[in-house]
Symmetry: C2
Subunit: 258 residues, 2 copies
Amino acid sequence: MTAFQAPASALLEPWQSPPVDDGDAERFCTTCVFGRVCLPKGYSKHALHRLHCLIEHVGPFQAGQTVFRIHEPFNAVYSVRAGLVKTVLIDERGREQVLGFYTPGEMIGLDAVHTARYSCSAIALDTTLLCRFSFGAMANLAQEMPDLQHTLFQLMSRNIAAAQWGRGDYPADVKFAGFLLDWGQRLAKRGFSAKHFVLPMARTDIASFLSLAPETVSRVIRKLSDDGIATFDRREVTLLKPDLLKRLAGAMPTFELE
Amino acid sequence: MTAFQAPASALLEPWQSPPVDDGDAERFCTTCVFGRVCLPKGYSKHALHRLHCLIEHVGPFQAGQTVFRIHEPFNAVYSVRAGLVKTVLIDERGREQVLGFYTPGEMIGLDAVHTARYSCSAIALDTTLLCRFSFGAMANLAQEMPDLQHTLFQLMSRNIAAAQWGRGDYPADVKFAGFLLDWGQRLAKRGFSAKHFVLPMARTDIASFLSLAPETVSRVIRKLSDDGIATFDRREVTLLKPDLLKRLAGAMPTFELE
DNA sequence: CGACTGTTTGAAGACGATCAACCCCTGTGG
DNA sequence: CCACAGGGGTTGATCGTCTTCAAACAGTCG
């Protein structure tokens, strides 16, 4: 188990730096996706201990560091505890395609469960802490812990729905509006503001994720600013007229991710 | 359990109409995704019986019929036994976005497991037979049958990877080439030819899936014909130069789906 | 302070969408 | 048996949006 270190984001505003609880031998970290599995239920100390032993805290990864690489042997999946991770694919010409962004409570690597190798690469975008565990071992344990099995199914199902986000050809401003709203919602779920937040990833990564050129993203941002719909100060965003934004994004079918 | 009826596709060439085995009380249908779970292993007759009882054979659905609709209460997932199903989303203007095509052995509805409602609609594209079961009940049973649990995890994982297929902005011909090859591979996995096959879905559906206009698909097809890379006779396709096709599609990152 | 990366802005061009018309095939009904 | 209607598919011409290329700019870190 890795000793806890304060992430660099501790320097940021309070609403940007969630407190991280590393847990202890008997009680799980509250930011962990498995928190709800073991805390309230009457599992035996033994079972909880086995669950706890399965999970290895890794990190911190610094921005730009690779968590795992595509085609590497698949040994483990990761749950984000703090920070931000992107998953990417590289095409023939070396251009990166961003598949998704993962924030605390979300899980990476589940798309490799049916293979022997990772099917994408994962790269930290900020100082990042992760929980790492063998999926096979976790599945074994889930055999005895119905709630754990349920949690795994939920996580995988949500991953399917998330992977379908943004399918379809829509105007650049629509896609970007949808992205802003989705990001706000995900933050809101963790108790932060859905209207005033940071987009910790580079414009380039947003552009890639939305299948747009970085220049186009830049122009959309300018348009949203000019129209008074939102303000952008470097990577800080404030949504001034969320209703207009929703109307924009409404052109695109939305996925309710829970 | 629904009585078996020969699908309309029985009129087609032999390589288009897979034999369908409906199974019996003790032995599972060989086309079922769960076939491998119960056949070789030493499960008790009782467990097998419970598994069997969980699964309800439904259909046939005729082309155009809806299997389930988005936002309907989520009661069950479906495994395709014969035929073809598409999953779709409808946007604000009533335009359909195709999320995926599902052939025998593939499972629909897994993206709704984490919700109370279906997150997309499923529509049969051909005479279709399905296996239907409550995911919750299946998960309960999986608690006692490790191989069943494993199968479910595999299916969900593959669904995640499949949902990521085709992400990114690539030229129309590249996307279509990738689609043709992917379709061929899926058929090959079921023992059919990867070079000579039928695309049972409408051009419109292919276009929507690839985020293209139907006209564009049509033009790409013409180009591939003119270049002697493949021939198209209505919905029948023959790949003449698969290597060239692969070079085309290579521009796009490929997902190895198993 | 100067190299570097990430971001913005501008001008030109390409690709695909759209619109409109036509064609083909199928099924239907007189 | 043929006429007709209708859906799906193809073709052509035009237009828009986004990409591309090029350059300037801003913030960061050594």
